[in-house]
Every structure is written in structure tokens, then in C-alpha cells.
Symmetry: D2
Subunit: 354 residues, 4 copies
Amino acid sequence: MNAVTKMTTMKALVYHGPGKKAFEDHAKPEIADSADAIVKVTKTTICGTDLHILKGDLPSCAPGRILGHEAVGIIESVGPAVTAFKPGDHVLISCVSACGKCEFCRKGMFSHCTTGGWILGNTIDGTQAEFVRIPHADTSLYPIPDGADEEALVMLSDILPTGFECGVLNGKVQPGATVAIVGAGPIGLAALLTAQFYSPGEIIMIDLDDNRLEVARKFGATQTINSSDGQAVPTLMKLTHGRGADTAIEAVGIPATFELCEQIVGAGGIIANIGVHGLPVALHLERLWDRNIAITTRLVDTVSTPMLLKVLRAGRIDPKLLITHRFKLSAILEAYETFANAAKTKALKVILEA
Amino acid sequence: MNAVTKMTTMKALVYHGPGKKAFEDHAKPEIADSADAIVKVTKTTICGTDLHILKGDLPSCAPGRILGHEAVGIIESVGPAVTAFKPGDHVLISCVSACGKCEFCRKGMFSHCTTGGWILGNTIDGTQAEFVRIPHADTSLYPIPDGADEEALVMLSDILPTGFECGVLNGKVQPGATVAIVGAGPIGLAALLTAQFYSPGEIIMIDLDDNRLEVARKFGATQTINSSDGQAVPTLMKLTHGRGADTAIEAVGIPATFELCEQIVGAGGIIANIGVHGLPVALHLERLWDRNIAITTRLVDTVSTPMLLKVLRAGRIDPKLLITHRFKLSAILEAYETFANAAKTKALKVILEA
Amino acid sequence: MNAVTKMTTMKALVYHGPGKKAFEDHAKPEIADSADAIVKVTKTTICGTDLHILKGDLPSCAPGRILGHEAVGIIESVGPAVTAFKPGDHVLISCVSACGKCEFCRKGMFSHCTTGGWILGNTIDGTQAEFVRIPHADTSLYPIPDGADEEALVMLSDILPTGFECGVLNGKVQPGATVAIVGAGPIGLAALLTAQFYSPGEIIMIDLDDNRLEVARKFGATQTINSSDGQAVPTLMKLTHGRGADTAIEAVGIPATFELCEQIVGAGGIIANIGVHGLPVALHLERLWDRNIAITTRLVDTVSTPMLLKVLRAGRIDPKLLITHRFKLSAILEAYETFANAAKTKALKVILEA
Amino acid sequence: MNAVTKMTTMKALVYHGPGKKAFEDHAKPEIADSADAIVKVTKTTICGTDLHILKGDLPSCAPGRILGHEAVGIIESVGPAVTAFKPGDHVLISCVSACGKCEFCRKGMFSHCTTGGWILGNTIDGTQAEFVRIPHADTSLYPIPDGADEEALVMLSDILPTGFECGVLNGKVQPGATVAIVGAGPIGLAALLTAQFYSPGEIIMIDLDDNRLEVARKFGATQTINSSDGQAVPTLMKLTHGRGADTAIEAVGIPATFELCEQIVGAGGIIANIGVHGLPVALHLERLWDRNIAITTRLVDTVSTPMLLKVLRAGRIDPKLLITHRFKLSAILEAYETFANAAKTKALKVILEA
């Protein structure tokens, strides 16, 4: 009986309303639908979005929810409709759950799956726990290649596909082109790493933090601009001989940075938004209506995960560059402290080992 | 001497500053550059942009300028570098002049040609005259097919390529898709006509004017919404079973209509802006950041003119549907009156015969 | 007990080896996999491929197999993993079964699904029967819109998506473009009908049979060429002013017609192959290597089925034009006779009512 | 008078019919058309196509012709219609002359320019001389960036755009994808270098010559296959886990290598032909009709030259890797010997300094 009790509870990081979280005992998840899998988490991480939830910014996430939407692990059990995985399989968990059947999934817009999308650690319990239930397992998990590095793979749950799909693919980065990335936080850096798949000529990173800009240069930025002097626009225009950027990637999520993108995008260029915005921005159509530009928004679909796995396997990217700190899952509160104080700790991504 | 005088002056509609215009004698244009052609105008028309100029909205257009950027005519003379045309050739004048050589022309962005773009009737004298000088003639004129209808062709100078490129091509209209067009003026109707090249399932036209909506139904709109009751959004959402439009085309140019497009575009959809905007608009990224949408702007490039000529020749479009009134060039002031009072006169496009 | 016997057998058209078929009693299909559905067939049809099987051309189809891969019907029962359909639902059966999960399904190449593809009436029992088992039901069936015409919908099982995807989409048919279709049989006519979604300028149909060419003209061909005089190439070149076709669609499947496409495709054009070929063809690279052409092959993926359903609902296509004869399922042997002697009977598609 | 004589003759490599060439005095070219430029050649090279001409394979090239279509130089004079260049400008000569005005140029198919295309050293005198006349100068020359390396730039006249456009762009190389290149000669290696712009996962080089395969590994090939044992197909299939290549680039130009591409291309893949073929090949449609493949051919358009210049400037490619030998123009006969005996001399590209 004691043994059974042990099997049905686990440790998890639970959101208890704005400003409140606890690492505590929680019921272990069980198969609820025939397409579910239960995954024993081996590595997980914290996302900037988790901090937003803790501030109370996302009403969709109710108190009592286990947070987290990024992880790798080992399958413990699967529902009867799961055909692609079996217990013991080593898997990457996608931050987006996809049924593979609905109108949106059929066109590759998994983010808007009518029974999925970004639900993990949001409307259903997430990955910052010893175990997690994954709905639509066949189309929401990916087999981990033999010998692959778990830490590198955790970066493929969310941050790399987000930077790549929302920033690089939507931004149509081309060989020789000029890319500007506004925001050198983890997501901007993920865009920086994946933009290099397409050999742009210039990658100009813009941020207020010299430390992050230095990291950006190490990651491949050809130019950096500290925008704290308010001169980012003329500086970039000078660097681009007045042409502006072919692709401007917004990786912050506030009006000032989006409007900066409006000013630095060149005629015929694209503003690819990655940032999570809480406020409307002023779109200066009086200046942009005849500039032949495109603006794109996107919640990551994770349709590029198979491509990213191949690029990773080929050694053409090193996602571990993004990892600055490592903790045991039991030290997750400390990990949150470190991650939330990035200006001081210089944290990018933290790894939690379960 | 009298004969010479006749040859060196002509009649033209000249802008004399905000609110002022005259149909008066003006020096006949001469070849100024080796790539120029002088075209004797046979048919021209008035554009909504001409009314903007007359209001003083476009400082680029200085007093003394002959207005007009749409016409067909006969080549009178060509500069020594012109190889594709000779005197006597029947030609369509594009509203956009393109050198064919610069960085922008090479990628088909004629609108941003470094020595061209939309200059006719703006920064150089235009087509509302007996003669007009066309720079970069080889790449800014199109031979008129034998037996073609001049009136239909005048619609290919600007309005049809604008509706098609900025609205339909940028909006990626697909077979079976749902297209919403906000604004049933001439440019919205041009988008309506050309959207049908791609067999969309629904074309929903939104306007405040019942007469124009009735015209839209005749032109192929499958549904119309008079938005004067403030219920356009819920009405469209009901018509689309809550999905919104795959393509929302903005064909007015004011904040209210652009923001309407933001509300009616579906997840994964496109807002294709055609409208000429004088003010910034509120872009509700707090609602749109995760909707996987694209917003496009464009000054017409007229790269689609050869395609439109083929579609016209094949009889798959009837641009003359847009023509409501006809005048002699000498009656151009009356034509302006008619065109400027469209609500009363029900004018769409007027033809001026030189 | 008699009742039970009645419930477990049904009538079906069974292939018994080259040249042999019978309409006979056969065990009624049962759910074999949790993702299966059993569908009561209401309307089905015969495909040219069925004739190929009967000639013994397809070794993948073993004696004892029920033929047919096109139908509409009513769901009788579903396996426990089926979530999108329930008994009583009115459905369209796709000729291609797709798991929705494998590498190929994820990129929309359902035809190469690792556990599906074209298996119906080929490697598993098909639709020319009272009941059929459909694997991967959630991603291989489509709900039939209320009030839709069953006969029209049977054309969406295979022939319309095949003509559209392999011919029109692969052939990148564009407004104003010149399309040549070689072969005016049912599949060539399906390409002809669906090519019109994109408003090409010319659609030139080439065949040996004047009756079929007359049908083609009724279906929208702008020109027809009877190639029996061996002059198809010069005739087409004259019609296209020496340019050749932008898109040449091969809808026969023999070397002579493919090589005809090689001769009529213009510089920069596409040869889109639909034909099922049994022999290699001579590819004249010594003439084509510098012509900037593309050649495409494709087994239909049926990814366009949702689009085709929308176009059908919008009334922009009338697939029933393809239907020339109607029979009861019990008269299927007579239907085969009619279909196999198309030159005499002028049959295109025959409808079988179960 | 002596001075005048000196100015009107020059040294040039002249083709005198199959097997015959001479480095001899030749009239210096003069402006023949208002759009011409005369360029003083500073660096040129020899192309495999020049060897084909010398064998008598290209009847378009008549005896008396100066060979060569690759060079950089300094503009000596320009015709009155040239606006983008002036005497003294340092320029890259494109192997393709483009008027920028005709139907083909307007869609970026410069190779089929109605008054240009590949004419240099073919139907008009070429670059293996002290001076060369360049028609359509404004759209056939490119300004050389300050400080750029002339030798690297000569590789942008033909070999790099050819490998890139015909092989990599047509082959749609993607991040993580598997690319096979058949033929490790200069053009195959140019495809290898430029394929890396898109970060493919595997680049498998296939050739008969171990030396060239070793070079390929140095240039970035991840795998090499010496096909002399007749086992290239099974070897590649094993390397790709039975999937075949996503992109198979044919860079030889004989039936055997093209048919090898047919065997190694995976379902959904592309065969991108670069090779100049003199014979038809067997296209195995009986095996490929349902494999969803594409085959492309292309004469280089050099539309990618601006992109390649940017990539070069960004230091993301080192075209000088292709250069193995250097000669004075006066030693061009020796250079031809070296280039024609590549198996022995290990020559890839040779630079001729004028």
C-alpha cells in the first residue's frame, strides 16, 4: 500500500496564482485518453513564458497548474491508440500538442490544433515535474536519435523551433541578406543561431545589454548595436548603406521594439514577430503603405522539429550554447530565481535534471 | 511660325496647388533622355490619387505639374536608346516607370526603381494631356495587342494591377478560400474582379454604400455587408462559421477599415493592404501575436501587366465593367466633378478621350 | 442464424487473376484496427486503373481482392481510436489512406504513407462492394457537406484530386498561361476542369478521338488538336506563336505522349505527368538541358481534397460533367463493359449505386 | 600611325574549327551598339564548355571566334545608352548577356534573352583576349566591390552561379536535407560549395576519381562514393537508410550519371541537372511515375549574381578553393593543356592574367 502511494504521487512545480508557486507533491498523471502517453521527465527547463504566467499575465493558466512545456524523457505508458511509441522509448516533448487530424493540423498549423496547440503547462499540467501526460502522443512526441545529447534536445522543445519558425522561416532569411534581430535574450539568440542555416550576409543584433550583445557576437552576429543611446535606427541605416534590413526579427514583445522594427526594415523587407505582446503597437502605415513590406506573427507550430533534428544530428548547430546553468529538479525554485534575474546572473537557459 | 506654335504647345490638366487645377495650354513634352518616348495620349482617366494631390496631401507633387498616370496612346517619337518601340506603335502606359537595371527592378520591385517608380503625374508631368513623356520607355510601356479595346486597356495602367498585386497576389487568394474586401470603390472592385482568377469560394464585400455593394454583387461578390450598423465583424464571423477570412483586403486607407481587417482575418490568414494611408493604425498585437497572420503593404510594381494582358486577351476579365462615364479630354474639369462626387454620380472610372 | 449470415456476407466485385472478375458473395469487412471504420457504400465508380489490374499489370493486387478505390457512403462502425467520425456519418472515401503521423504524411505526401497510400482495391479490399473497411479513418475520410450531391462527390475520391494535384498544381497553372493537355480521357478532362481554377489564357487539348475533343471544348478547352495526323507539334507551335506551352500535362501514360510533351513544352515550362507508365521514355536532354524546364511525377496525395470540397460547395466546378452512365451495383459487370469500351460507348465515368 | 595600329589589334585565343585554336593577333573590339561596353580583361579562365567547342560539339560557335565567357576587367569605353557604368569602372562580366527588357529577362530567365543569353565566346567574340565587347552592358556587368579579390570574382562569371542556380536553387536544398552530387569536377564542386549556404545534413559526392573525392571532402562533402565498383546505388541507399537523396545533382552530362540520379533520388525528391548533355537518356517513368519527383534543367540565368556577391563579401564562401593553376594570358595554350588533362594535372579552374 505504501508502495502504491509512492507510485501515485510525484514532485512538481505548481502555480498557485500570481506571484505564487511551490515545488510540492502532486498526483502523478494517468492516461486519460487513448492517444495519451505518460512520460517520465529526464530533463526540463524554464521559459520566459513561465515568468509571464507567474506574473498573472495569462488567465488561461489557472492556479493549481503544473508549469513547463519543454522536456525530454522516457515513455512510461501509452494509451491504446498510440502506435508510434511504446514504453521505454526516449522522446522529445514538443511544446505544442497536435492531433494531426483537424483542419489546422492538416495545413501544418499545429499551434491552432482544435484540441491541442500550446496547452502543456498552460491549460493542462506541464513538464516541470517527474512525470507528464502528453495528449496526441503520436504527433506530439519525437523519437530521440541514439546517442543524442538530452540537454541539446531540450532546446528543441520550444526555443529553437520558435526562433526558427517565427523569426527565420517567417522572415525568409536568404543567403547574403541583412538580418536585424531586436532582442538578444534566449529567443533572439535562438533566432540568431538558426538564421545562420541560410548564410545571411549580415546579422545585426540590437539590445540594451552589453553582456548579451557580447554573447550574440560569439553566437555569430556580425554587428551589434546597443540601443540605449536611442540611436539604433541611424546606426543600422548607416551599417546597411541606407537600405535597412531585409528581415527584422522582433524578439522582445513591447511596442518600442516593434516600432523600432518598423523603422529599420528596408523596402521589400519583412518584420517577423516572435515577441509575446500585451499591448497594441502603432503601425505607421502612413510611412509603410508603399514600402512593399510584410509583417508576420506566429505561435510556433513545431512543424520544423524533424528538420531541426536533422540539422542537429549533422552537427550544423550547437543548441547547448544557450545553456548557462544546470540544477536538479529539486532545486527548481533556485533555478527560477537564477532565470528570473538574468541581467545579474547572465542566465540564458537553465537545465533541470529530474 | 503658327504651325510651329501648334506643334510645341498642347492642352493639359495642370495642378496649381491645393484646390487649384486648370485645363490649359502647356509646352508639349520633348525627349529629355535617350531612353524616353513621347506618347500621343488617346485615352486617359482620373485616379483617386489625383484627388488626394488636389487636396494637397502629396507634397511630392509640386504646383505646375500635369496630373495623370494612366493612359494608352500612340508613340510619336523615341530617344536613341529605345529599342523595343518605334513611332506609330500603339502602347499601354504603366503608372510605374522602371529602368529595368537597378537593384529593385532586378527583383521585380519596379515601384522602388531608383530612377523611376510612381513618378508620372507626381514628380514629372503626367498623362492628362495631349502628349506625355515616358522615361525608361522600353520597360515602362507595353505593346497593345491588335484589335484590343483601348478603354479596357486604360484599366491596366494602374487600377487592375494595383488591385491584383497589392490585394490578390499579396493576399495569396486560393481556390475555395474566403476573401473579404473592405471598400467597394474602384480599387476594391478591381481586387474583386482579379481575385476571381483564383476561384475563391467566397468573396465578401464590405462597404457603407448600398449602391456600391450592389455593383459588387454584379461583379462577382458572393456576399455583401453594409458596415454602417457597426456589425460587420459579427456578421462576417457568422458567414464564415467563426473562422474569419483567409484573405482580408484593405481597400480604403483609414484606421477604421484597417482595424476591421485585423478583426475579421482568420488564424493563418493575410491582411493585404491596398489603401493609401495618411495616419498610423493600432495594430492589436496583443490579440494577433499568436494568430499566424501576415500583413502586407505594396505600391503596385506592375510586374503583372504581361499576365493581365494575357488574361484580358483570353476574355477571362472584363475591365470595362469599371467604366461608368466617358468624356472628351476637353471636358476634363466636368469629368473631375463627376468622379469626385461618386456617391451622387455613382462614378467608378471615367474615360477621357483625347 | 439466417439473419447473422445475412449480416456477415455482402456482394462485391472480386478480382480473380488476369482477365477474371466476378460479382459475388464475399465476407463483410470487420474492424481490424482501432483506427478503422466500416463504411456502407452508397455510390462508387470504376477507374482506368481497375482495368489495368484486370489485365494483370499490377502484381501488387492479388487474386481474391475486391476492387475499387472511389466511393461515398455512410459509416456503419468505427474502431475505438477513431475520434472524428461516428456511425451514421455521411463520408467521402479518399483513394489514398493516410496515417497522418509518418514522415511522409507530415509533409503532405499521403501517397507515400508508410502504412497507407493507395492500398484500397489494391493491397486491401476496395469499394466496389456493399461495405468497405477504411484504415486510418480519421485522416482518410471526409465529412460530406449537408445537401451535397453524392455523384459529384464520388469524383473527389480520386479523379479530380489526381487531375488537380498531378496536373494542375504540379504544372503550376497561372492566370493567362498556356496549358496543353495530352489525353482527353477522364483524367485529362479532370485536369481540364480543375486547370480553370487558375484562369489560364489557353487550354489546348490533344487527343486522337474527335468525340473526346468535342467533349473537351464543352468542358472549357480553348483549342483542340487531333494528333492522328502526326502534326500536333507544329500545330501547337503555330497556336502558341512558337513559344510552346507553359504547362504540358501528360494524361495518357505511354512513351509517345510523354515525348510529345517534351516537344511542346516552352522554355521555362513544366511537364506535369499524370499518366501511369509501364515503359521507360526517351528524355531528350540533348535538346532540353538548357531549356529551363521541370518534369514532375506524382501519385495523388489527396491533400487538396479539403480545397476541392470548398470549390465544389462554392459551385465553381461541376464534376458531374464527367459522369456519362449510371448503373446499380448489381449491374457492375455491365458497367465494366461500358467503361472498358469507351471509344464506342463514349463513357467517361460511370456511377454505381449500391 | 603606329600607335593607332597598336590600339586596334590585340592578342586573343581564336577557335579555328574542330581541334584547332591559336593565340594570335586579332582586331580589337569596338562599340557596335549603343548599349555596348568595351572591357579590358584583367583576369579570365577556361571552362569545360570551351573544350566542347574545340571538339566541334557546338555548331553555334563558328571558326574565327574568340573563346571565353568568364572574366573581370576594367571598362575602357561605353556606348551612349549605357548609364550604369563608365570608363575606368572595375567590373565582373557575366557569362550571360541580358537585355533586361524582353519577355524572358522580365521573368528572370536571362539565359533565354531574345537578344542575349550565352553568346560570349559562342556566337560573338569572348573574353580570352585583351579586350572584349559586352552587349547590354548595364544588365550584363556587375560593379566589383572595393577591395574584392579578382580571382575569386572570376568564379562568379559562370561556375558558381551555374552550380548554385542549376544545382542548388533548382534542387531546393534545405537545412538538414540529404544532397547527392554526381560528378566532382569544377561544376560539381561549385554546387558543393554553394549547397552549404542552406546547411544540408548530408552532402554525398559521387565520382570515379579518388583525388577529386578527396578535394570534395575538403570542400565540405560529408560522404564520398567512388562509383567505379558499380555499387554507388546500394552504397548511397545504405547511407540514407533506404530513403535516397532529397536532392540529386547531375554534374557530368552523360546518360549513365543521369540514370544514376534516377536511382538514388528519394520519393518526393528532385533531380537537378547541371550537365550539358549530347544524348537522350532513358527516363524510367515505369518506376518514377508515382514517386513524386521533379527533374529540372537550366542554362544558368545569373540572376543570383547579386546574391553571390553579397555572400562573397560576407566571407561565407571561398571561391578561390576552385583555383588550382595560374598563367599569364600569353601562356594560354599551356593553360588549355593543363586544364584539358585534369586527371593528370589535378586542375580545377585555371586563372589567366591578362
